[in-house]
Symmetry: C2
Subunit: 291 residues, 2 copies
């Protein structure tokens, strides 16, 4: 059966699949994505809080990677190659294979490796399936707290310790009441100096700010616990899974100009709990960046 | 039976009990402290991630408090008053009663209320028992992840989902390999401008930095997952439970001058995974603050 899964009553920024996609196939892929998450969790959990060796993959700049990252991605690649040999793969640790395929899995075995090596359970495994370059399925998995977010066909499933819960964004529209997060506010980290200033400007207007959450921040936005996530310097494997989840939860996700994430720029992402809040945040950023 | 629980081979900075203390009594108090943690968890867990109302208790400055904070502390106070009517209580939400008592319970029902209202499971319930003004028992409890740290008589018990695990600090001695945390690095938050600069100076020397962990940062240091925690602006209810736990795990905790926390100053706390690392961090802070 081939149907259009989305009502398409308005153009969505990103992550929606408005083309003709086989829904039965997508349901199969969703099950398979859960297998990928389960397989990764075996590798990540057994090494979590074991004071594993941390390798630096970035030379002078510290960019940690662990055996857990590598083993988890290897296991996922083997599963994909066995089940769908014609699909492409883009992984954080081992690059691209069969890049021009219609179906392309985007893998980040441990998003938030810094959290992982500090024993903080805000790291996640990210999985996305792109169809013709559009992220059409997203998984955020946190195996230590046993939480999983799965979005496909505009529907979000959230399970915590095996129990499915009905969730969605907070719907917050007032910037003064918003809870804002970014992973690291310092200019030296992900933000440029101007971007860090734009973040500080927005931070001065919201109710409260939290840091160091990586993709888990978007996951919390999708269950109504945060209202704005503002980041920069993200790569495809960091954000591909986020769009389907944030949008299925009723949120909005774009780059800092209101275009789809990754459309241009240097990986700026803005996610919000409502259209109104998103517009207000975009306007704030635009004013700050224009100075 | 009355014995001195500590070998006292060297002066401990803080949190040790070198006087004559009834160990059987302390064991009873430890069990009672766990009852207090259990009682608080009923109040905190049922409101966690329920998008509860957040009140501002600080006027212009936003300092959130929820019904969970208040209800949890009330329940704990009732238990203490019933079991030990001659004991004192100092609680974050409802102040001091019977302040001059020999035994004084120090309660922070939700440390990290900002994390709590953002759905992040790094908030904790903190309980300490002071004996003649010395924190002699400490509990850090995280009910969502089901983790509990309990220190009494220099012994640390860590349980995760009911399973007791042998833990201790990492023993890291090299500042370049250290994992550093503070709750908020911005001068506008907990640090003064000079303190924020001192933090930035230290952050530039360590391997990696995480934020927004509140007391959970000290808890992770005690299980070897972080190496330095550097904070300021903390009050007695924020830090009383931390000393017994960090020291029982083999770590060091002082103010930024190497004196016991709270000895003077404005609630600066430094905790480290080894004496050597602590000395190096103190020297760094001293240099930065002298500029």
């Amino acid at each position: 059966m081939v149907i259009c899964p989305m009502p398409c009553h308005k153009p969505k920024a990103w992550g929606s699949v408005c083309g003709m996609i086989d829904q039965d196939m997508m349901a199969q892929y969703a099950k398979f994505a859960e297998r990928l998450a389960d397989a990764a969790s075996v590798e990540t959990l057994k090494r979590f809080r074991q004071q594993a060796d941390v390798y630096n993959k970035a030379g002078v700049c510290f960019d940690p990677v662990t055996d857990a990252d590598r083993e988890a991605e290897q296991v996922q690649r083997q599963l994909i190659n066995a089940a769908y040999p014609d699909h492409g793969i883009i992984g954080e640790e081992f690059g691209a294979e069969n890049e021009d395929a219609t179906y392309r899995w985007v893998l980040d075995p441990i998003d938030g490796t810094r959290a992982y090596v500090c024993g903080v359970a805000s790291w996640t495994t990210l999985i996305s399936l792109e169809v013709d370059g559009v992220p059409s399925l997203g998984v955020i998995d946190q195996p230590f707290t046993e939480e999983r977010w799965l979005a496909v066909g505009g529907q979000l499933t959230y399970t915590a310790r095996g129990k499915r819960q009905k969730v969605g964004v907070s719907g917050c529209t007032d910037i003064a009441k918003a809870r804002l997060t970014t992973t690291d506010p310092r200019p030296a980290a992900y933000f440029s100096k101007a971007e860090a200033q734009a973040f500080d400007d927005l931070a001065a207007k919201v109710q409260l700010v939290r840091f160091s959450l990586d993709a888990y921040g978007y996951a919390l936005l999708a269950i109504g616990e945060l209202d704005i996530v503002m980041e920069s310097g993200l790569q495809l494997h960091d954000y591909a899974a986020l769009g389907p989840i944030v949008e299925a939860a009723g949120g909005v996700i774009t780059n800092w100009r209101g275009d789809p994430p990754g459309a241009e720029g240097r990986g700026e992402i803005l996610a919000s709990a409502s259209e109104e809040l998103h517009e207000a945040a975009l306007a704030n950023i635009s004013r700050s960046m224009a100075v």
